[in-house]
Amino acid sequence: MRYIEPHAHMVSRTTDDYEKLVTAGCEAICEPAFWAGFDRGSVEGFRDYYLQLTQYEPARAAKFGIPHFTWICLNPKESEDLSLAKDVLEIIPEFLDKPNVLGVGEIGLNKNSRNELEVLERHIDIAAQRDELILVHTPHLEDKLKGTKLIIDALRNNSKIDPGRVVIDHVEEHTIGLAKDNGFWAGMTLYPESKCTSMRAVDMLEMYGTDQIWMNCACDWGISDPLAVPKAVFEMRRRGHSQETIDKVVYANPHAFMSQCPKFKV
């Protein structure tokens, strides 16, 4: 089996996980910028993180023969300090030019606040001006539905944004239709306790089809499983899906989306 992991926070993982991913058939890893579990205190803190994503982490992945790609942004959890956020946004364009950067992400909302929305709109502007791909984080749990609607409105309000170049991640049964009906790609995140399980992800594939959709593990420093995608493949097999369908969902689809960025070579 071959697959692409479209969303994994490898800076939070041990090197053992690279070995597991390779063994399971992973042929590329894509790592969006995210929140470290604490708020960074300065622009230089963010700069160090972006250097880690664009220099150190691809070198670590290369030791296991895995191409490592990344996405750059300020995570919505760190948008409430608007002054710092604006300073961080100033340095983002220099990193978007790095050879392993696929676009702007994971941007979005967390608690659906006004400042989060303002920072989201600024990220969308940056992406629109540079014609970058966008990877969107949708909020957690009770905040997801409202946040997904606000995010889609913000994206649709920018006439330069092509929905086919945007993936709305962490969809669940109550938000997948919002993403797909508006022409966006949809990402299903497989988490043991939140977002969705393998069984529910395969349910959604069966209900909404296999076009413009992928599955990811979004493994990070929290409760998460770097092998969630291969385990979901097992679920697809148990449910009678063909190898052709499996390959489309876990390899061809993420490959097609990411290949819209010419830097993505796998």
Binding site: D143, L145, K146
Partner: protein
């Protein structure tokens, strides 16, 4: 999507669903014994569970919708980072 092979989905998923149903029942018993069943999250969970016995499909979607913030306007500021799993209306 290519044609699915026929699979007995009850064989495949019944035991998993059974243990989850018992776990939910045990959770409700536990918080009631402890006098904590007035928590808004427990009330929200009980409301969500009503959708399980409805006849139409899309029960999972309706459960998620029932636990979601139904408002539409951005809030003035983020009160924290986390989410609780159920929406609680607060006075503004």
């Amino acid at each position: 999507m290519s044609e699915l092979k026929e699979v007995n989905l009850v064989d495949h998923g019944f035991m998993d669903a059974r243990i989850k149903a018992i776990d939910i029942a045990a959770f409700l018993d536990r918080v009631q014994r402890a006098g904590q069943d007035n928590d808004y999250r427990v009330s929200a969970l009980k409301s969500a569970l009503k959708h399980l016995l409805e006849q139409d499909t899309n029960r999972a979607k309706r459960v998620l919708l029932s636990l979601s913030d139904p408002t539409e306007e951005p809030i003035p500021f983020a009160p924290g980072k986390g989410a609780a799993g159920a929406w609680q209306e607060v006075d503004s």
